[in-house]
Each structure stands twice: as structure tokens, then as C-alpha cells.
């Protein structure tokens, strides 16, 4: 279980990105974090694995106090936290396999990783994961030869090979087309279910979030302004999170879009899998 208590972050510029945010994510829960740009979504998930140093507050992952750790212990804890990025963040000049295996770096020594001599069990797992995300035929392709959706699948495999207890997912679909976005979201949520993983997913697309996650937290100017089931996310809540807008009109558009999209999706699905 991840337990965030009174987490605050003030950047050197004086911006309060997070104002005493408290949040509990039980095991196996997939949580969607929504909110306008600059609300602190990215800062929040980066504070969890301390890619951004929190100013105050505590982060407890299964009993480990992450905010107190020195660099050595922190590295050990980061192994247990998988991260999936906006724009994929694959190392472009490395092969698909090297990118996936880089998820094991926390577990192997420097010389072994330098000569790419990973344990056989890691290599087996890498092949298994690449098969699971449908990329086992692209093992030795360079990451920059892949399409957006394929890259994000490699990103997912890289996060999962860490054998994490928690997934941090930062705008996974921001640079993908609508269909690929759905496929990627579905894949992430399926994998979380298979492995009993909890996840925090930053996401801009409210409709997509409602479709896939079990719980939604709304962040606005560094504070939690909504926390509840996706169904209770109505236009008054959206106004609270994002500000005034004609939510009814968009949600009606969305509803008719969904009706059109759903059967289409069913048709497409078999040929695609």
C-alpha cells in the first residue's frame, strides 16, 4: 500500500506545486489522477520515486519511508516502483531488448550491465513480457525505429520487468492516437489486474480515465479537490477541477462518440490482438 501524507513541494522559483497532499492507494487499485496542466500531477508522481525531491511530508510504500532514504536505499526502493512516461522516454539508440533489460539495472552489477550479461532469468522474463505486449519479433530493433504505440509497449515492458509493487504512469497516451490510446490504457489496466499491481495514472483525457480506472482523484493548484468513483465525476465536479466550461455539451458529444466508437472497437479488436 502507498500512503502519502501531507506531501508538499515548493520549487526554487517559489511555486507551490503541491500543498499538503494526502493520498492512500491500496494494493491492486488503479487510480486516475486528473487535473489541469500545472496542477501538480507530474510533480506528485515524481515525488513518490523522488525524481523530484519533496519539500515536506512523507511517502510510505509498504512500510518503507521513501522520503528519508539515502541514495543507496533509494535506489533499492526505486526498483520496486515502475514508471511509464509521456513520450515513452525510451533510450532511442538502444535496442528494444536493451531498453527492456534496463528495467533490471537495479538488480545487476555494473560490469554485468556494461557487457549486457544479464541473468538468464531476466532474459526469459524480457522475452515473456515482449511477447505479452506483442513485440517479441522486434527484439533487436532500435527503439527509434518503432511507432508510438510500439514504443509505449516497450516502456510498459521496461516498467514491469522491475517486478514492481507500484506503477507510476505519466500521461501514457498524450502522444498517441485515440485507438492506440485505448489499447495502451487497456493493456496497462489488464497487467495491473494480472499482477495485483497498484498504479497512479496521470491522464488528461477524462473520458478515457472514466473508462478504465477504478478511482479518480482530481488535483487543482496542488490540492486534492475530488476523490471518488469515476461514476460520480459529473459536470459540477469537473468545473471544480478545471474551472467553468459547458461540460454537458462535451459530455453529450462524448456520449454519442462512444456509442459510435464502441461497436467499431469490438470489430477492430480481434484482428488487432
Amino acid at each position: 500500500m502507498l500512503k502519502i501524507t501531507a506531501l508538499s513541494k515548493r520549487y526554487k522559483t517559489g511555486d507551490d506545486a503541491l500543498k499538503a497532499v494526502s493520498l492512500e492507494v491500496p494494493d491492486g487499485q488503479v487510480l486516475g489522477l486528473i487535473g489541469p496542466s500545472g496542477a501538480g500531477k507530474s510533480t506528485l508522481i515524481r515525488c513518490v520515486n523522488r525524481l523530484v525531491e519533496p519539500t515536506s511530508g512523507s511517502i510510505d510504500l509498504n512500510g518503507a519511508q521513501l522520503q528519508k532514504m539515502g541514495s543507496r536505499k533509494l535506489r533499492k526502493s526505486r526498483r520496486k516502483i515502475g514508471m511509464i512516461f509521456q513520450e515513452y522516454a525510451l533510450v532511442e539508440r538502444l535496442s528494444v531488448m536493451e531498453n527492456v533489460l534496463s528495467g533490471r539495472l537495479g538488480y545487476v552489477g555494473f560490469w554485468k550491465s556494461l557487457f549486457r550479461k544479464f541473468p538468464q532469468s531476466d532474459i526469459d522474463e524480457a522475452f515473456r513480457l515482449l511477447e505479452r505486449v506483442g513485440l517479441d519479433h522486434m527484439v533487436n530493433k532500435r527503439a527509434d525505429e518503432l511507432s508510438g504505440g510500439q514504443r509505449q509497449r516497450v516502456g510498459i515492458a521496461r516498467a514491469l520487468i522491475q517486478n514492481p509493487e507500484l506503477l507510476l504512469v505519466d500521461e501514457p497516451t498524450a502522444s498517441l492516437d485515440p485507438k492506440t490510446s485505448r489499447q495502451i490504457m487497456r493493456l496497462i489496466c489488464e497487467l495491473c489486474e494480472e499482477r495485483g499491481l497498484s498504479a497512479i495514472i496521470n491522464i488528461h483525457d477524462v473520458a478515457l480515465a472514466k473508462l478504465f480506472v477504478q478511482r479518480i482523484v482530481g488535483l487543482q493548484a496542488g490540492e486534492v479537490v475530488f476523490d471518488g468513483a469515476p461514476e460520480s465525476l459529473d459536470s459540477s465536479v469537473l468545473t471544480q477541477i478545471y474551472g467553468e466550461e459547458d461540460w454537458e455539451a462535451t459530455s453529450k458529444d462524448k456520449a454519442s462518440e462512444n456509442e459510435e466508437a464502441d461497436p467499431d472497437d469490438v470489430n477492430v479488436e480481434p484482428s488487432n490482438v
Partner: protein, 270 residues
């Protein structure tokens, strides 16, 4: 047409001048012209000497038609061998030292004290021209290729570390962040996130530096730091233009081969 112009009011427009005050603008122009007139006039040309020199110059150029590779063969081979040894060793040693210096001189990797230290090394190396360093090294180590080797290694550090550090600073942050998030150690992080991003540039710059070091090694002989330059200098002192021509033709050929192969290698590592 003219009607349209009349209707639009006929407002004129001119690009505003770079220097707004007219007296300064024209004053600077006049001053520059006067300065150049007197500056060029300060060279005094001895036409009698030029007439004599023309003949000598022509002899030198004619020597390229029948270069003499043979009569100073052993000096020639010894000088070339020395130059090539100097070039290769100084480039390799220079690269090996440049890499850690470049990591330290990249502001996104190194803490401030290390950054300042490495930037100082680079600044010193770049401030001193090879010839000046070579004179100092010859004073310390005596005549010969050792002085040249140290000089060129030192010069390579300033060149390579600076440009590599700049490439590291311009790397994609998200790739670096992603590898860091896996729990990789610092060295693993450098190997998996930083190295793949800067490798093509490192190889390209190294090839370019090999080329520069060879050309420099031909000059360093003039101040006694070994290499083919020493042989070239002796040939000129003895007015053996045909031997000098042979040396220069060889230098040009080697530089061209290096240039061509480096362009192939750079294309290959992209």
C-alpha cells in the same frame, strides 16, 4: 494601381538603421576607411626582394612536379613514423582523459565544484595554442616526439571535453530520467542513458581530432617537438625543395585519407 496607392495613403517605410545616430553611423564608416588606408600603407614592400623571391617561390612550386621521396628516405620515414605514433597515441590518451573531464564539465551531471574544476582544465587547454605548449614541453622534456605527444594530448582534452560536455548538456532529459527511475547506479545510468545519446558525437569528434592532431604534428617539429615537421624544417633550411614537396604531398594525402574515412565512419554510427 496608382489609385490603390493613393487610397492607401502612400505611407513609406524604411528598415530602421542598426545605428540610429547619423553622425556615429557615418563617423564609424569614415574612421574605418581611414584606418584601413593607413594600416595597409604601413606594410613596406621591397619590390627588389619580391622579384628575387618570385624565382625562389617558383622553384618551390616546380618541385611539386618532381618530388624527391628518395634522397632523404630514412629521415623521411623516421619523421613520418614519429608523426603517426604521436598522432595515434596523443589522440587515444587525449580521448581517455577527455571523457571523465567532459562528464565533470557537464552542468547537468556534475556538482558545482567539480564542474568549475573541469571547466578550468578546459579553459587552460583551449587558451594555450599548441605551439606555445610545445615550446614549454620541449623546455621540460627536451627535443623529440615525447614533447609533441604531451602537447597534442593536452590540446585534445580542451577540444574534445568542451564539445562532448556541450553534447551531454543538450541530451534528452526524459531518457535520463527513465533510466534513473529503474534504480540504476550512477555508472549504469551513464552507460545506459547518457552514453547512447552522445556516442555518435564522441566518435565523430574523435575522428576529427585525429585529423587535427596529424596536421599539428607536422607543425610541432618546427619548434623541436619531433615528427615530420622536423624533417620538413631541415629540408627547407637546406633549400631541398623537392624533399619538402614530397613531405607536403604525403601530409596532404594522409589528411585527405583521414577526412574521407572519418566521413564514412560518422555516417555509419548515426
Amino acid at each position: 494601381m496608382s489609385e490603390a496607392v493613393a487610397q492607401s495613403g502612400g505611407r513609406t517605410w524604411r528598415k530602421p538603421p542598426a545605428i540610429e545616430r547619423p553622425w556615429l553611423r557615418y563617423g564609424l564608416l569614415v574612421f574605418t576607411l581611414i584606418y584601413l588606408y593607413f594600416a595597409v600603407g604601413s606594410y613596406d614592400v621591397n619590390w627588389a626582394r619580391v622579384a628575387e623571391g618570385m624565382e625562389r617561390g617558383w622553384k618551390f612550386i616546380k618541385a611539386f612536379a618532381n618530388p624527391d621521396f628518395v634522397s632523404r628516405r630514412s629521415d623521411f620515414i623516421e619523421g613520418m613514423t614519429e608523426s603517426i605514433i604521436m598522432t595515434v597515441t596523443s589522440t587515444v590518451v587525449g580521448i581517455m582523459i577527455s571523457i571523465p573531464v567532459a562528464l565533470g564539465a557537464a552542468s547537468n551531471l556534475a556538482p558545482l565544484p567539480i564542474y568549475l574544476f573541469c571547466r578550468t582544465i578546459i579553459a587552460i587547454s583551449r587558451a594555450l595554442h599548441e605551439i606555445i605548449v610545445a615550446i614549454l614541453m620541449v623546455a621540460i622534456f627536451g627535443f623529440g616526439p615525447l614533447a609533441g605527444f604531451i602537447t597534442l594530448s593536452f590540446a585534445t582534452i580542451g577540444f574534445l571535453a568542451k564539445l562532448l560536455a556541450e553534447d551531454i548538456e543538450a541530451m534528452d532529459k526524459s531518457q535520463a530520467e527513465a533510466v534513473k527511475a529503474t534504480g540504476a547506479s550512477w555508472l549504469q545510468w551513464i552507460n545506459y542513458a547518457v552514453q547512447p545519446q552522445v556516442m555518435p558525437r564522441l566518435i565523430g569528434l574523435s575522428m576529427y581530432r585525429l585529423d587535427i592532431n596529424f596536421r599539428e604534428s607536422a607543425v610541432l617539429g618546427l619548434v623541436g617537438a619531433g615528427g615530420i615537421g622536423a624533417t620538413l624544417n631541415t629540408a627547407f633550411d637546406r633549400y631541398e625543395f623537392d624533399t619538402a614537396a614530397a613531405i607536403i604531398i604525403t601530409i596532404i594525402a594522409i589528411v585527405m585519407i583521414l577526412e574521407y574515412s572519418s566521413s564514412i565512419i560518422r555516417r555509419w554510427v548515426q
